[in-house]
C-alpha cells in the first residue's frame, strides 16, 4: 500500500465559516472547525450553544445559512449519501419503530448503512447486556441508547458522530462505551463526541472545543486550555492569614481566619515571595478541572463571545 502524502490526507471534519440562523436566532456563527483523521474530539457547551446544530449541519439534516461543511473532503450538503456512507451517528434521543424488535432494527440499520461487522455486533450485544428480542416499544430509554450505540459501532464507520451518547446509561455501561471508543481510536476511526459529561470528555478526548452562544470560544488540548485559566491555591497559616490582594497575578482572594484561598494567573513566584516566612503550615495548589475551565467561560463574570476573537 503506497504511503499517502501529508497534503493528500483530508481532515475528517472541516467547516469553513459555517453559519446557521433560525429566523432571528443565530444558532451558529462562523464556525471554523478542523478535526484530523484518527482524533477523538470533545465538543462542549451548555444547552442552546449550538452543539446539536453543528451536528445536524454535518449530517445534512438542516441546511446552513452560509459557509460549508466537509467530511473527508466530501461536501456535506452536495454529497450527503457518500458522506453518510463513511459515518455513523448516535443521537441523544431516538424514536424507534415501536413494532420492530431490537434484532430487526439492528438488521435494518445494518442493511441501510451498507457495512456491518457481524461478529463485532454480536460481541457488542453481549458486552452491553442488551436483549435484542424485545419490541422497541418495550425498551427503556437506556436500552434504546444501547441499541443506537451498538448500531453505530457495529458499522466500523470512519467517523463516529456521537451526540450525548451515554444519556441514560448506568456507570457500568458507560465504562463499556469508553472501551468502545478506545477500540475505535486504536483502529484509526475518528470520534466526534458532544457531551455534558466532563469526566467522560476529559478521559477520552485528545482535543476539546468549547462552544458558547453559537461561537467556538476555545479549541485545544486539555493542557493547552489549562494554561488559559488560573491555578487554585489554598494556604493555611499559624496565625492570621495575610492579605495578598496587591500581589501581581493574584485574584479572587478569600480570607477566613487562618485560611487563605486565591487564584493565580501566570507565574506563582510573586505569591510565594509574599507569603514566605509568614508561618505557612499547609499549601495546596490545584490545576483547574475541565469543569472549572468550562464554568470560567460560562460564569456571570465571563465576557460575551465575539466571533472575531474565536478560534
Amino acid at each position: 500500500m503506497s504511503e499517502r502524502k501529508e497534503s493528500d490526507v483530508q481532515p475528517a471534519i472541516r467547516t469553513g465559516r459555517l453559519t446557521k440562523h433560525y429566523g432571528a436566532v443565530k444558532a451558529l456563527r462562523d464556525l471554523d472547525l478542523e478535526v484530523k483523521e484518527g482524533e477523538v474530539i470533545g465538543y462542549l457547551g451548555p444547552n442552546g450553544a449550538g452543539k446539536s446544530t453543528t451536528i445536524r449541519l454535518l449530517l445534512d439534516l438542516v441546511r446552513p445559512t452560509s459557509g460549508r461543511a466537509e467530511v473527508f473532503g466530501l461536501d456535506c450538503q452536495r454529497q450527503p449519501v457518500e458522506v453518510h456512507r463513511r459515518l455513523a451517528y448516535v443521537p441523544g434521543e431516538s424514536a424507534l419503530w415501536p413494532s420492530l424488535t431490537g434484532r430487526e432494527i439492528l438488521h435494518l440499520l445494518g442493511r441501510v448503512h451498507g457495512s456491518v461487522d457481524d461478529a463485532y455486533r454480536d460481541e457488542l450485544v453481549e458486552r452491553f447486556s442488551f436483549d435484542p428480542s424485545r419490541r422497541a416499544r418495550a425498551y427503556s430509554h437506556g436500552n434504546r441508547q444501547k441499541l443506537m450505540l451498538i448500531a453505530a459501532f457495529m458499522t466500523r464507520a470512519d467517523l463516529l458522530v456521537l451526540d450525548e451518547p451515554t444519556n441514560g446509561l448506568d456507570p457500568l455501561m458507560e465504562q463499556e462505551f469508553r472501551r468502545c471508543v478506545h477500540e475505535a481510536r486504536a483502529r484509526g476511526q475518528t470520534v466526534f463526541l458532544s457531551s455534558h459529561i466532563l469526566s467522560e470528555v476529559e478521559a477520552l478526548c485528545d482535543r476539546v472545543g468549547i462552544l458558547r452562544e453559537g461561537v467556538l470560544v476555545e479549541m485545544g488540548t486539555l493542557s493547552e486550555l489549562r494554561h488559559l485559566t488560573a491555578l487554585s491555591v489554598e494556604a493555611t497559616f499559624d496565625g492570621e492569614a495575610p492579605d495578598v490582594s496587591g500581589v501581581p497575578g493574584v485574584t479572587a482572594v478569600e480570607r477566613a481566619g487562618r485560611t487563605l484561598r486565591c487564584q493565580v494567573q501566570g507565574p506563582v513566584d510573586p505569591l510565594l515571595q509574599a507569603i514566605a516566612g509568614m508561618g505557612v503550615r499547609e499549601l495546596v495548589s490545584r490545576e483547574p478541572s475541565l469543569e472549572e475551565l468550562f464554568l470560567a467561560h460560562y460564569g456571570p463574570q465571563a465576557a460575551p463571545p465575539d466571533p472575531a476573537r474565536a478560534i
Partner: protein, 530 residues
Amino acid sequence: MAASTTARRSVRSGVLRGYVFGVVVASQSLAYASTYKTARSRTALAAIFGHNAGLAAINGQAYDLTTTAGFTAWKCLMFLALAGSVWGLLLATRLVRGEEEAGRFELLAVGPTTRRRATAETLAGLGAGPFVLWAITAAVTIAVGHSSKVRIGPGAALYFALALALPALVFAGVGAVTSELAPTRRQASSWAGLVLGASYAVRMVADSSNGTVWLRWLSPLGWAEELHPLYAPDPLALVPLVALAGLLAGAAVVLSGRRDIGTGVLAGREGRAGSGRLLGSAGALALRLQRSTLAVWAGGIGLGALLLGSIATDGGKLVATSSTLRNDLSRIGATGPGATQYLSITFVLVALLVAFLAAGEAAGLRAEEASGRLEPLVVAPVSRSRWLAGRVAIAAGSVLACGVLAGALTFLGSVASHARLGAGPLLEAGLNIVPPALCVFGAGVLALGLVPRAVAPAAYGLVAWSFLAELLGAALHSNRLLLDLSLFHQMAPAPAAAPDWTSAGVMVGLALAAVLVGGAAFRRRDLAGA
C-alpha cells in the same frame, strides 16, 4: 385538570364531525325533497326500496319513504350512527390509550389524585365530544328543517341527533374499556372495532328478514334504529343506550385501578419474536409497517364494492322511475341502463374512500418526519429523494390496486345479482377513480415540501372539500361552479359514461407536478424532527 384537556380535544373533534353530519343530513333531505316532488314518485321509491332485504341490511328497515323526514331517517341513521360509532371508539382509544403511550397520562396520575379519579376525569372530558356532536348536528338539522320542503321540527331534530350521538357515546365507552384491557393503542382500536363490527353484523341479520327482528335488541346500533327518529319516535331504546354508556364508563374506571400504567389488564403478547421480513431497505420497511393498514383498506373497499355491485339492479330500477334523477344524471353525461347509472353514483363514494387512503399516505409522510423516525434513515446513506420516491411508489401502487379491486369486485357483485354489466366498463370505472386520489396525494407531498405542518389539513381538507362540494352541488342542483370545485366532479361518471381520459391525464399530470415540486422543496429544506 385531566377533564379539561381531554374535553378540549374531544370537543374540537366533535365540532368538525357535527358539521359534517349536519351537512349530510341537510343534503340528503334536500336532495330527496327536490328529486321526488310528486306523491307518485315517492310511492314508487317506497315500493322499490322499501322492501329490499339487501338495502335493509345495509341501511336498516325503511318505514316511511314517502315523507322527507322518513326518507332522511332511513338514509342517514345507520350510516351516520356507524360513522359516529367509529369516530367515538377511535377518539376514546386516542385520548385514553394514546395519551398513556405518549407518557402524558402518567403526569396526571402522579399528581394529587388516584388512578381511578384521573381516568374518570379523562372520561368525563371524552364525553364532551359526543355531546357537542349531538348539539351541532341538531342545530344544522333544525336549520334545514325550517325549509318548507323538508319540514322537520326542532324537537324531532334534537331527538334524531340523539339517535346519532348516543351510539358514538356507547362506542366511546367500548373504546375506553378496551383501552384499559389492551396493552397498545392499536390493539385497543382493533378490539373495539371488532365489537362494533359484531354489533353491526347482528343488526344486519336482524334487519334482513321479519323473523329475526328481535335481534335488534342485542345491538347498540339496533337500539338506535328502534328509536325510530323523525317519523314515529319511541324513546324506550334510550334506556339501554344511556345505561350501557354509563356501565362501560364505570367499568373503564374500575379497570384502570387494577393495572400498571403503560400496559393493559390483558397484556402479555409482547413475547412473540419478530418475523424479520421486509427489512432490507427503507422501501421494504415502509411496506412492512403499512401492510396491515393497506390490507384493511383494500378489504374494506373490496367488500363495499361487492355489496354495491349486488344492489345495482334495484338501484337501476330506482333511477328508471325518477325523471328528476335521470335528468340530473344526463346533465353530467351519465347515460345507459339504470344499473349503470346507479353505479356511477356509488363509484363516487368509492372514489372518496380511495382519496381518503391517499390522504392518509400523505399524512403518514409527515408523521414519520415529525416523530423522528425518518432521522435514522436519512442519516444513513439513503437520500431523501430515494426515501420519498419509495413512499410515492407505495401510495400510487395502493391507490391503483384499490381502484382495480373496486372495479373488479363491483363486477363480481353485479354478476351475483344478475345485473348483466360488462366487466370492461366497470374496470375502467375503477381506474377512473385513481386520478383524484393521486391529486390528493400530490397535494400532500407539495405541502410536505413547502409547509410541512399543513400536510394533513391539505390532503384531508382537499378530500373533504371535494366531497362536500359534490354533495351540496348535487343537492342544490343549481350551482355549476360549486360542483366544478370538486375533484370528484372532474372525473367522468363512469361506468355510465366513458372515462374522460383527458381530464384524468390532466389530474395525473398535476399530481406528478405537485410531487416533483414538493419533492424538490423537501430536499432543500431543514428537516423538522421530533
